[in-house]
């Protein structure tokens, strides 16, 4: 079962993971603000994740850990 975790406080909200996700499961949580003052990325539906790690591959800040 795929599991994606975000080190939210390292996220700069650049959104490269959002465009990389083939299932369109990632969004920028506009209503949230992390320690760095950015709105972080988060996964909307963990169940649908296929653990392709495209998001983590494109993340410049090593925010995302992917397991399956």
């Amino acid at each position: 079962m795929a599991k994606v975790t975000f080190a939210t406080d390292l996220c700069k909200g650049c959104g490269l993971c959002v465009s990389a996700c083939p299932k369109n499961l990632i969004v920028i949580a506009k209503e949230k603000i992390n320690k760095k003052g950015h709105s972080p990325a988060e996964i909307t539906d963990q169940e649908k994740c296929i653990a392709c790690a495209f998001c983590a591959t494109m993340c410049p800040d090593c925010v995302i850990r992917v397991e399956k």
């Binding site: 653990a51 993340c59 850990r65």
Partner: protein, 251 residues
């Protein structure tokens, strides 16, 4: 099972780069290659002057910070002193292709057994977006406010093509990090560039087409698209020199 996690040879220091800057991706690729090859304990990196000047904060192996453009000379010194260690430079386009062009060309022609990671984003980032030796014709920057005029500012330098004309270097390739497929290819190239050094093959340079959303004045995603539309047509991806492959040796 872990599919993707932060490479072990990266420190926990948060990267200072702008949101969406692909330096972070390239740092990750370098660290992954070093982890997979099991060479963290023997690797010595040389950081440049430019946005990645603080790279020494992000890697767990030994690092030296070089003067602007001098990283290949510093790396030459380190490698000649410690031939058993793995030595690489990490340089931007202003550092490598403008002020450090002589050091680059001569390290290549000597076939110094080092690895060079050359990040080309066609602009000076740290100083606020000035024209780089690799800025495209017509590209608007702080010091080419009407667009790079090739009649006065000359043409962009295609470093990989130029270095590939030399007899010296072992491996010269150009990759990009603007989508998943390209990042994966970039990783293979970077790993090969380190393997070449381990195998004593000599100078290996990976030019990585990268973005600068802040100074290009676009969103991170748009910047990646701009690479496809503008950078790659001028800087075609591919292997420009691979001496061992040409000789039919196993890579």
């Amino acid at each position: 099972m872990v599919v993707f996690e932060k490479p072990k040879s990266l420190t926990d220091a948060p990267l200072h780069y702008c949101p969406g800057c692909t330096h972070g991706i390239i740092h990750t690729l370098v660290a992954q290659a070093i982890d997979e090859l099991g060479i963290e304990g023997t690797t010595i990196g040389v950081a440049p002057v430019g946005c990645s000047v603080l790279a020494y904060n992000y890697f767990k192996f030994d690092m030296a910070e070089a003067a602007h453009g001098r990283a290949p000379a510093v790396a030459t010194g380190i490698k000649r002193a410690l031939p058993e260690n793995i030595v690489f430079t990490y340089q931007g386009d202003g550092d490598l292709a403008s002020i450090g062009m002589a050091e680059t060309v001569h390290a290549a022609t000597r076939n110094e057994n080092i690895t060079v990671i050359f990040v080309n984003n066609a602009i000076y980032g740290m100083t606020g977006g000035q024209m780089a030796p690799t800025s495209l014709p017509g590209q608007v920057t702080q010091t080419s406010p009407y667009g790079r005029d090739t009649s006065t500012a000359g043409f962009p330098i295609r470093v990989s093509e130029m270095l590939a004309t030399l007899d010296g270097p072992e491996y010269i390739t150009r990759v990009a990090v603007n989508n998943v497929k390209n990042v994966r290819n970039a990783k293979k190239a970077i790993k090969k560039a380190f393997e070449n050094q381990i195998n004593g093959k000599g100078f290996s340079l990976v030019e990585v087409i990268s973005s600068c959303p802040t100074n290009w004045g676009m969103t991170p995603q748009k910047a990646l698209e701009w690479i496809d539309e503008n950078m790659i047509p001028y800087y075609p991806l591919g292997v420009y020199k691979d001496r061992s492959a040409e000789k039919g040796e196993e890579a």
